[in-house]
Symmetry: C2
Subunit: 363 residues, 2 copies
DNA sequence: TTGTACGCGTTATCAG
DNA sequence: CTGATAACGCGTACAA
């Protein structure tokens, strides 16, 4: 029964040791009802001596609430042989997870982490249903039309993505608005005309929305944007390096600016450009998206759209738990603000201290 | 009972619909015993129609196995107000978590994520005991002497750290050996004599071991190392920037090389140096530790010690599950290899393509 | 091959 | 204020 051989004390052990019934133990432990001071003490010392910790499985069964929320991200292919290859994961996802974890913990829940392959999303989500009270599903794991049936069975909030799904709660940023700002900055402030947008994986609504909005507003401002497809990459720095190299090998003329769907690709672009003798931002400007923590500490520092990643995770958890506990929020589509962070890679002189103080942490 | 109002079908619903007993349902679902083809089909269609998913709490209670392993990292202070400050988290930890998640999933387990504050480590770990079958505890969450009592109650593996704890399984890298290599490279290959080591948080055995080993071997090679304390930072880029600025403000002479306890600090060091007109590696060489995925795509690319972060997570999960399922490994201290990655920041000409092919991922 | 009935550890409902 | 005892949903001896 306990394969590991270690035996854990149960509430019965505590009750016996304290000379009371299990009901009493349960009550004092949960503060459900007051107990006589003496009884209280007896129970507590028994708990301490036995180092009793309630079995969450039993508690979950009894209460119908496991106090666990799951978060599913696109990333871990089930196939093991791919693991060695895909070493570079999405920093944005990690930040979201951190925020979600902190929020869950604060609200008395735990966070169950779960990667899903490109084809396993639906199955993964469905299976997880038995282990959690609710789910946070990130961009790219579930096509919009798969959401509704799943959301009907389990409290569920979609994090990032298009925001077009009405069947579940959504927490996201205004991708479209952010790209309008980027385009405006590049075209109007820097007078750049020949632009390119490097997309992430095709299955990502986030990437798609950013691309479309960027193209649209750039064109509206009189600039031209290179065809999207050849500029597609895979969200990673390594992938972006490859894409740029392929482009350079084809001996094509570089655009004035390359805007990337995330920071990691922007990094790769800068690296590849530097490696082939091109200067950023002198020869070509580069911008990213996310504002990963390292972005400001690079040379050149990265111009990017700040996305409140941790807060996204946190908001998602808060909404989810509200739903789980029967307080469905009225706002079903929460949109958090973005902020254009103008730094060195677009050609602006970076003052270097934009918000550095915020980074100080006592040792 | 179900605060969210959604009702989930149970095994009884399936049994009724299929016209069999719950025992039969359980058997076909778990493959415990063969069933007549017809019965099998009846059950499976009922399962499909009802979209039945077994309740993990019940299953865990019944079997004494929750199929969940927890991982505890130092990082999320319980205090909410600190969240806004500490935005930069350890990339190494994120990588470990990714590796652990993938491994857990492959072995049929789920990963429960849990941050612990500097003072809450013990309590957090103890409380988690009720939710999981075993725990992975990262560097910095538990002082060595707190490990034994906890490890006695729950299968537990320590990830990173000194490796000095005999009371639990340990998975780590050879920090000391790695630093010997770094020192040798800097002193013998580059002829540098005046060195400095930037530590991470004082509570981290990882940082301490690296520092000690580096100092020792550098001195043995005839170099001198600046006093450790003024060079201490907090693992983050932002912290490192501050440390360097403070140092420069004091108008002290820079060392020939600054070796950092992790890559993020190395990045910050380079950034701060660049910002004050110093050139890396021309004026001062810089090296890191971890080899985060971005390290090779920076300018200059980062010389660092590659640490197999994901594999650490994976190995920890594998060991843990072996213990949980009653197959205690004989090797209680698993040490994974590190590799010195000589790149641009130490002054070596970086060929640029060291292992770039490994980063290609199909889109 | 299948069904009955019990146990897993908690919480919660009732009496007392 | 406290103690029996019935769920909770699933796995599994034990019988048939």
């Amino acid at each position: 029964m306990q394969p590991s051989g270690v035996t854990t004390p149960t509430i019965y052990d505590v009750a016996e040791r304290a000379g009371v019934s299990i009901a009493t133990v349960s009550r004092v432990l949960n503060g459900t009802a007051a107990a006589r001071p003496k009884t209280y003490e007896q129970v507590m010392t028994a708990v301490r001596e036995l180092r009793f910790v309630p079995n969450n499985a039993a508690r979950g069964l009894s209460q119908g609430l496991k106090k666990v929320v799951g978060i599913v991200f696109a990333g871990t292919p089930a196939d093991d042989h791919l693991l060695s290859v895909e070493e570079e994961s999405l920093l944005f996802v990690d930040a979201v997870v951190r925020g979600a974890e902190a929020a869950a913990q604060r609200l008395g829940y735990s966070l169950l982490l779960n990667g899903a392959g490109s084809t396993t999303g639906e199955r993964t989500v469905a299976a997880l249903t038995g282990k959690v009270d609710g789910l946070i599903v990130l961009d790219q794991v579930l096509p919009d039309r798969r959401v509704a049936p799943l959301a009907k069975r389990t409290p569920m909030v979609l994090l990032a993505g298009s925001g077009r799904t009405r069947s579940a709660y959504t927490v996201r940023v205004d991708n479209a608005g952010a790209m309008v700002e980027v385009a405006a900055h590049l075209v109007e402030r820097h007078g750049l005309r020949r632009l390119a947008f490097m997309s992430g994986r095709a299955s990502s609504p986030d990437s798609t929305v950013r691309a479309q909005s960027f193209v649209q507003s750039a064109v509206a401002l009189g600039a031209e944007v290179a065809p999207l497809e050849p500029w597609r990459s895979d969200w990673t720095s390594g992938g972006a390096v490859q894409t740029i190299r392929a482009f350079l090998a084809a001996d094509e003329r570089l655009p004035d600016a390359i805007v990337c769907a995330n920071d990691q690709m922007a990094l790769g672009v800068i690296h590849a450009l530097n490696g082939s003798g091109h200067r950023v931002p002198a020869d070509v400007a580069v911008a990213g998206f996310d504002d990963i923590s390292l972005a400001r500490h690079l040379s050149p520092s990265l111009t990017t759209v700040r996305q409140p990643s941790r807060q996204l995770g946190r908001a998602a958890v808060e909404v989810l738990i509200d739903v789980i506990e029967g307080r469905p929020p009225t706002n079903r589509d929460i949109v958090l603000p973005t902020q254009l962070k103008v730094r060195g890679s677009c050609g602006c002189d970076h003052l270097g201290d934009d918000d550095l103080d915020a980074w100080r942490v006592e040792i």
